[in-house]
Symmetry: C2
C-alpha cells in the first residue's frame, strides 16, 4: 500500500451550458502541469457537470403546484424552487424545521433533491443534479481516455449532510471506470480469522478525500487522486444505493 496524492486542479474557468467539459478539464490539468496518468481517478464536482450539460431550470418558467406553495409558505421559501425540488424527487424522506430531505429520481437521499439555488448563473436559475451522473462520468472518462490513450476512473460528486452527524461531506453520485464498492468479505485478517461484513464504499471515501481540496469558492471543482489502485471496470454509483429491503432507515 503506497501513498495516495490528492491533487487539486485549479483555474478551471466558469462553466456554461454547452461547454466541452473534458477539453476544459484537460486544459486546466495541462496548465497546472500535474499530468493525468493511467490509474488516476478524476473527481469532478456535480455543479460544473450540470452546468455544462445544461441541467438548469429557469424559475420564470415554473408554475408551482398548490402543495409546493403550501410548503414554501410554511418556511418562507421560493415556491418555484420547492416545485423544482418536488419534480426532482420520488419520495419525501423528512420535512422539518424548513429542511426538505428527499429521495431523488436517481435514488440519492439529500436535502432539496440536490437542487442548487445559490449559484453564479443568476437569481432565477437553479442547477439540478446531472440527469444520469454515471453516464456523465462515463462520457468524460471515455472522451479523456480516447484523447490521451490512458485508463482512468471518474467520480461525479456532491456535498451532502448526514443524519446524526454535523457538517457536510462530499459523496459519489456518478462513477465510471471502477467498482465503487470494494468487497473484502472472505479475505482474512492478520490472524487468519475470516472478516465479516466488510464492504468498503471506496467511491465515497475517494469523494470525501477530494472534498478536502474542493472547498467552496476556492475554484477547485475537480481533483485528481493518484495512487489508489483499482481494477478497471465499467462501474456504476447505483451500487452505492442500499437496496430498500436492506435499508433500516426507510
Amino acid at each position: 500500500m503506497s501513498t495516495i496524492a490528492i491533487i487539486p486542479i485549479p483555474n478551471i474557468p466558469l462553466i456554461f451550458p454547452g461547454d466541452d467539459l473534458p477539453s476544459l478539464l484537460l486544459e486546466a490539468i495541462d496548465r497546472a502541469k500535474v499530468g493525468l496518468k493511467s490509474g488516476d481517478i478524476l473527481v469532478i464536482c456535480q455543479k460544473i457537470v450540470s452546468k455544462a450539460e445544461g441541467a438548469l431550470v429557469d424559475l420564470k418558467t415554473v408554475e408551482p403546484s398548490p402543495f409546493a406553495r403550501q410548503i414554501a409558505a410554511m418556511w418562507d421559501k421560493d415556491p418555484r424552487v420547492v416545485e423544482v425540488v418536488l419534480r426532482e424527487s420520488r419520495r419525501i424522506v423528512r420535512m422539518k424545521n424548513g429542511v426538505v430531505i428527499t429521495e431523488t429520481k436517481h435514488g440519492w437521499v439529500c436535502a432539496n433533491a440536490g437542487v442548487d439555488a445559490s449559484n453564479s448563473l443568476g437569481d432565477d436559475i437553479v442547477i439540478l443534479l446531472p440527469k444520469d451522473p454515471d453516464a456523465s462520468a462515463r462520457t468524460i472518462r471515455t472522451t479523456i481516455e480516447a484523447r490521451r490513450g490512458i485508463t482512468i476512473g471518474v467520480i461525479i460528486t456532491d456535498t451532502f449532510g448526514r443524519p446524526w452527524r454535523d457538517g457536510l461531506v462530499e459523496f459519489a453520485l456518478g462513477v465510471s471506470g471502477f467498482e465503487p464498492l470494494l468487497d473484502l468479505r472472505g479475505s482474512s485478517d492478520l490472524q487468519g480469522r475470516e472478516l465479516h461484513h466488510t464492504v468498503v464504499a471506496v467511491a465515497d471515501e475517494l469523494a470525501a478525500a477530494a472534498g478536502l481540496v474542493m472547498e467552496k469558492g476556492a475554484a477547485v471543482p475537480a481533483v485528481i487522486i493518484r495512487g489508489y489502485r483499482f481494477l478497471p471496470a465499467e462501474g456504476t454509483a447505483k451500487t452505492l444505493i442500499r437496496p430498500a429491503e436492506a435499508d433500516l432507515f426507510r
Copy 2:
C-alpha cells in the same frame, strides 16, 4: 490549495493492553522513513487505541440480562455480546434483520455500539470503543508533540455503515489539535455571492481519506495526512454530533 498526501504507516506490531502506543507509532513512522512534521494529521484506527488502553471485555465475565437473551435468541447471536452492546449504548436507534444500531454512550450512532467481536485477541474477548476518544487523541498528540517538538493533529477513527448508502466508510470518533468542522458560512464564492449553510465535516473527510489506505487486514491501522492546512486548536469530535434539536432522524 496544494496537494495532500495520504501516507500509510506499515508494520505497526499487533497491539496489546498496556502497550505504549505513541512510542510504537513513532517507531513505525521512523522505520517507514516517512517522517512526521508539523502540520501533519495522524489518523489512527480505533481498534489499536482500544487494545492499548485495555478497552476490552472478557465475555466469560458477562451475565446477559433477560432483554439481551431475548434479542440474541431472535437472531442467533451470542447473548453475552448483545449484553455488552447494550451496556455501551444509551439508546437503540434501529433493531431489524439481525442488525442493532445504537447510540453509544459517546453519542455516536453505529452498529453494535462499535463493539468488535471479530478480532485477534481470542474468541471470548470483545473490543469496545475507547472510553473517551478525544482524550485518547489528545494524549497521543501531546505525547508525540512533546517528544518531537512539532504541532500535529490526531484523529481516532472507526468504520461505520450509513443509512441509504451501501458500504462502510471510516469516520472520526476522536479529534485533537484542530477543529473537526470547517465553517465557511459568510465566505463568498467566485461571484461574491454569500454562501449559505456550508460547514464542512473535515475530520470525517480526513478519516475517509485515511480509510483508503487502512484496508482491513493490510496491517495499516495508522496513516499520516500531509498537506491539509489547519489552524491548531484543541478541538473535539463532539462537535460532529448533530444536536438532538437539529437532528431530523431521531
